[in-house]
């Protein structure tokens, strides 16, 4: 960071926020006119985005349930955004009330809102920080959030690394987070795909404009797979979002096209 840490970031409601735009896509009203205007602009080039967002949220739920069932009771949710329906702590603590969750976001409004929501839940907390500073985030997650890094933890990077440019070394960030964890820890990751639908790539252009909340960097399948580094990618590997461990029988239509624009996977530290 070029800027000294004691210089605060401002709150500018005239600029769309990634967190509030995502909330809008999920049907929430935690957003402002600027967010909705930007979100609608993206929808014009890529109307399916709303449904992709839901798939992503479903994937998050499935992944948290899967890991909770395997005894994971600590979650570090990086880029958590606006807590709308189906937050990590709600899902995980429904399985195991002792589960600890630390949310991290760099949007001060999202963090303030989350703080309100989590008021009274002493096993979930939110921190205003930048996931590109793993050292500081991990330290605060331990000291303030009560995570125990000597036991397995799940690091969630759901639909967030496509907002981290190559200049910040996303694969190195994943590696740095996981290096701090104990064996048996997981990373849960979903990411927009550059070799998918053409319309999806068009939304990358909209995000690339100057008034966008964050420029996006869509990545190819190979690039996304490379983000896992030397972690063991668990079954079914890096797959289309809806195909990651779908809930059998009645779940969403798993027949997605080969050009589905988002991939997901989970990697384990052995």
């Amino acid at each position: 960071m070029d800027r000294p840490s004691w210089v605060p970031s401002g709150v500018d409601v005239t600029r769309a926020s990634v967190a509030r735009v995502y909330d809008y896509y999920l049907g929430g009203s935690h957003n402002f006119a600027s967010d909705r205007a930007f979100a609608d602009e993206v929808l014009q080039v890529y109307p399916e985005l709303t449904s992709i967002c839901r798939d992503n949220r479903d994937y998050l739920r499935r992944a948290v349930l899967y890991l909770s069932a395997r005894g994971i009771d600590q979650f570090l949710d990086l880029g958590s955004g606006i807590p709308t329906a189906g937050n990590v702590h709600e899902i995980a603590q429904a399985v195991n009330p002792l589960t600890r969750v630390v949310y991290v976001d760099h949007d001060p409004v999202a963090v303030t809102h989350s703080r309100e929501l989590l008021n009274g839940n002493d096993r979930a907390m939110v921190m205003l920080d930048d996931l590109r500073e793993p050292g500081r985030v991990l330290r605060d997650a331990v000291v303030l959030g009560g995570l125990d890094l000597t036991r397995p933890v799940a690091v969630l990077l759901v639909s967030v690394l496509h907002f981290v440019g190559d200049e910040h070394g996303p694969a190195e960030l994943v590696a740095e987070y996981m290096a701090a964890t104990a064996p048996g820890s997981y990373v849960v990751l979903s990411h927009a795909r550059s070799d998918g639908q053409r319309d999806a790539a068009a939304s990358e252009q909209v995000y690339g404009r100057s008034r966008s909340p964050n420029p996006m960097r869509f990545r190819s399948r190979a690039e996304i797979e490379a983000l896992f580094g030397d972690l063991t990618v668990i079954d079914p590997g890096v797959v289309h979002l809806p195909q990651w461990r779908p809930e059998l029988g009645e779940d969403a239509d798993p027949a997605v096209g080969e050009d589905y624009p988002a991939l997901a996977g989970a990697g384990r530290r052995d």
Binding site: S29, H30, G86, T112
Partner: protein, 718 residues
């Protein structure tokens, strides 16, 4: 799913059947955090409520209303969810027994109202929450900003470094207390003076260009050392860092200046720099500074802009040190330096001390040797003025060498100074207390002599010195009875130097000692070789000896060694010393000569007649032969009418005296048969000269011994 036909047939569908269709219809309309299975179970409960409501005797809108509320609570917030719900329920419940008579419509109306109300409440609540979050976040950001500004304000106000903020026009907006104290202005006064007014004569040329580059956004920061005048005109030196602050669009907005007072450090550096360039004894510029200035002057010099140097050395300064002590010597140097510095520097000349008692005056921006001579004369006059030190009135003089840069072929400073140094020695040699002007030809001679003497050791090692031999002839029967060994220097260039070109240099440098030894060894070896080839060649080998060789310890041992090595008998070796060298001999040298004579070696006085020999003294010397000098022969024996009777008388007397003392007399430089005739008549024993033969290479000697070509030029009958 095969449930639908069953529903129609049964009239009233089961809640499970309704839930299946309902789930299918709305699952994809909104995001909920439920899996399909959970959703279907959830909707099954709601469907049961609705079925009950349809079938009830009396319609109660409360339950369908709550179902609408429950849909929103499950996060079916997209309006499509309501739309699909109405369609599905219409299809599923339309054929129910109680559905007629408007019951279905009433029920859907209640559900829709409940949904709309709940969605409105939820939307308002979320809007309120996010607005509250925004407000809180803003307050927190403001607080953080205030904290950071408070911290910055504390840094700004209490910093020991001077800090100022200006706009890009150079107007000063804010300054801190340290800067006010550093420069002595109040904040208000600073604001009235744009930064351009803080100019200082010592500002390096690029300073303000750098500042302009910063203000225009070309550079983001500038570091420099700069002097300022305080308001009270005192000068301070600062280390200045200027940083550009840009607005969010990247346009230059402000300049922050951080100013550190480094006056003390600068003063120290200046003093060190002065010390590095000045002579500690006299305070004059030292040779480093002088050469810097000379280099610069030479670089700028041209045909219209000559550079001159007066190189001054005190005469006999060593005597002052030796007799009055070094403290007095130093005081004298200081006094002379002070006078030279103040009186010559007044005319813009640089006076430097080169070391010891040597000073140099650099004369620039003047033309003509006359001007340089005036400067030199002034310097000499200054030095001559008596200096009173500790009760002594000391009078010294100096010698000055004057050189102009275009006097010398090369214009490099070092060469110019070498020429000046040489020229100064000419002034010394010419009698001191004067100046000398550089003379290129003379300097060239000095330089080539220096080059020759520098090359001589190598030449000796490489065998460049060769020996020629000149026959020595017994006058009465014209028999060749010996040779004189004469050394030549055969340069690699092919040039051949006569001894007068290099023997004096060898005597100066001391190389005469090894050179003389080498010549002696070669001569003896050669003589022995001739005799070995032809036993009749029993020649006297006469070799020149320099006074310095005689003074050198070990000469006798060397000679003995050579005689041993070559097997040459000592009685056939003659060593020649010039008359002047004999006159300068000490008791020690005489002892050496006696030792040589005792071994059996003949000693000859060479060039006899050129000095002022005390003839009576000859008796006490271990001498066997006199060699009469060439001019003496020429003057005294040329058989012309104008023959100088006095000279002739002298030669006659010398020969007679020599014979009385038992010495043989050799006449040198016999060139004509007339001279030969005279000398024969005067009683000279032997002779050499062109009349007989010139010095020749050794291989020519045997034939001369036998052929005696000079006997065809018999002595004149006159």
């Amino acid at each position: 799913m095969t449930a639908e036909p069953l529903v129609i047939l049964a009239g009233l569908p089961t809640p499970d059947q309704v839930a299946a269709a309902w789930t299918r219809a709305i699952a994809r309309t909104s995001y909920t955090s439920m899996s399909r299975r959970t959703l279907r179970a959830h909707l099954q409960v709601l469907a049961g409520t609705l079925l009950d409501a349809v079938a009830a005797d009396k319609f109660d809108p409360t339950d369908p209303y709550d179902v609408g509320v429950a849909l929103v609570a499950a996060h079916f917030t997209q309006v499509a969810a309501l739309q699909q719900t109405v369609i599905v329920l219409g299809e599923q419940l339309g054929n129910c027994p109680g559905a007629g008579g408007g019951r279905l419509t009433e029920m859907l109306g209640a559900l829709t109202a409940g949904y709309a109300r709940a969605l409105r409440d939820r939307t308002l609540a979320e809007q309120e929450r996010i607005s509250a979050a925004l407000f809180t976040a803003r307050v927190a950001a403001e607080q953080a900003r205030w904290n950071s500004e408070a911290r910055f304000a504390a840094v700004f106000a209490d910093s020991v470094i001077g800090i100022g903020v200006g706009d890009i026009n150079g107007t000063i907006l804010e300054v801190n207390r340290a800067l006010c104290e550093m420069l002595g202005y109040t904040t208000e006064e600073f604001r009235q003076h744009p930064i351009w007014e803080f100019i200082h004569p010592d500002d390096s040329p690029g300073v303000w260009d750098q500042v302009k580059a910063l203000l225009s956004g070309v550079a983001d920061n500038v570091r420099l050392e700069k002097a300022y005048y305080r308001k009270d005109r005192a000068e301070i030196w600062t280390h200045l860092v200027l940083s550009l602050v840009r607005d969010p669009q990247g346009q230059p907005r402000f300049v922050v200046a951080m100013v550190e007072n480094i006056t003390e450090r600068h003063r120290l550096q200046t003093r060190l720099a002065h010390q590095a360039l000045h002579d500690p004894l006299t305070g004059l510029p030292n040779r480093t500074l002088f050469f810097d200035r000379l280099d610069a002057a030479l670089a700028a010099a041209g045909p219209d802009q000559t550079v001159g140097v007066c190189y001054l050395d005190l005469d006999d300064f060593k005597a002052v040190n030796d007799t009055l002590g070094h403290d007095t010597g130093d005081a004298l140097l200081r006094a002379v330096a002070q006078r030279l510095g103040s009186e010559l520097a007044r005319d813009g000349h640089l006076v430097a001390r080169m070391g010891g008692d040597e000073f140099v005056v650099l004369v620039e921006h003047r033309n003509g040797i006359e001007h340089l001579e005036r400067v030199a004369q002034t310097a000499l006059d200054i030095v001559r003025r008596p200096v009173v030190l500790g009760g002594h009135q000391i009078v010294v003089s100096a010698s000055v060498g004057i050189v102009q840069h275009n006097d010398t072929i090369a214009s490099a400073a070092a060469e110019l100074m070498q020429a000046a140094d040489t020229t100064m020695y000419w002034a010394k040699a010419a009698g001191r207390d004067r100046y000398a002007l550089f003379d290129a030809a003379r300097h060239h001679g000095d330089v080539s002599r220096f080059a020759l003497s520098a090359r001589m050791p190598e030449a000796l090692a490489r065998g460049e010195f060769v020996v020629d031999y000149q026959p020595l002839v017994r006058l009465h029967d014209q028999q060749m009875i010996g040779v004189e060994a004469l050394v030549r220097w055969q340069l690699p260039t092919g040039e051949r130097l006569e001894p007068d070109r290099f023997i004096p240099l060898a005597e100066d440098t001391g190389l005469i000692v090894p050179l003389g030894r080498a010549v002696l060894a070669e001569a003896c070896r050669q003589a022995a070789q001739w005799r070995a080839t032809d036993p009749r060649m029993r020649l006297l080998m006469s070799v020149n000896l320099a006074a310095r060789q005689v003074r050198e310890p070990g000469l006798v041992a060397d000679v003995v060694q050579i005689l041993d090595d070559t097997g040459w008998p000592p009685e056939l070796l003659q060593l020649e010393l010039t008359e002047s060298e004999f006159m300068g001999t000490t008791e020690g040298s005489l002892a050496v000569l006696r030792d040589l004579a005792d071994i059996g070696i003949r000693i000859a006085i060479d060039d006899f007649g050129t000095g002022y020999s005390n003839l009576a003294y000859l008796r006490r010397l271990p001498v066997h032969a006199l060699k009469l000098a060439g001019p003496f022969i020429t003057r005294g024996t040329d058989g012309h009418d104008e023959t100088d009777d006095v000279d002739l008388e002298i030669v006659t007397t010398v020969v007679r005296l020599a014979h009385i003392l038992g010495l043989t007399v050799t006449a040198e430089a016999i060139e004509t048969s007339a001279q030969l005739t005279r000398l024969l008549r005067l009683g000279c024993d032997t002779g050499q000269g062109w009349h007989f033969a010139r010095a020749v290479p050794p291989e020519k000697i045997p034939s001369l011994v036998h052929a005696r070509p000079w006997s065809s030029n018999p002595p004149s009958t006159r």
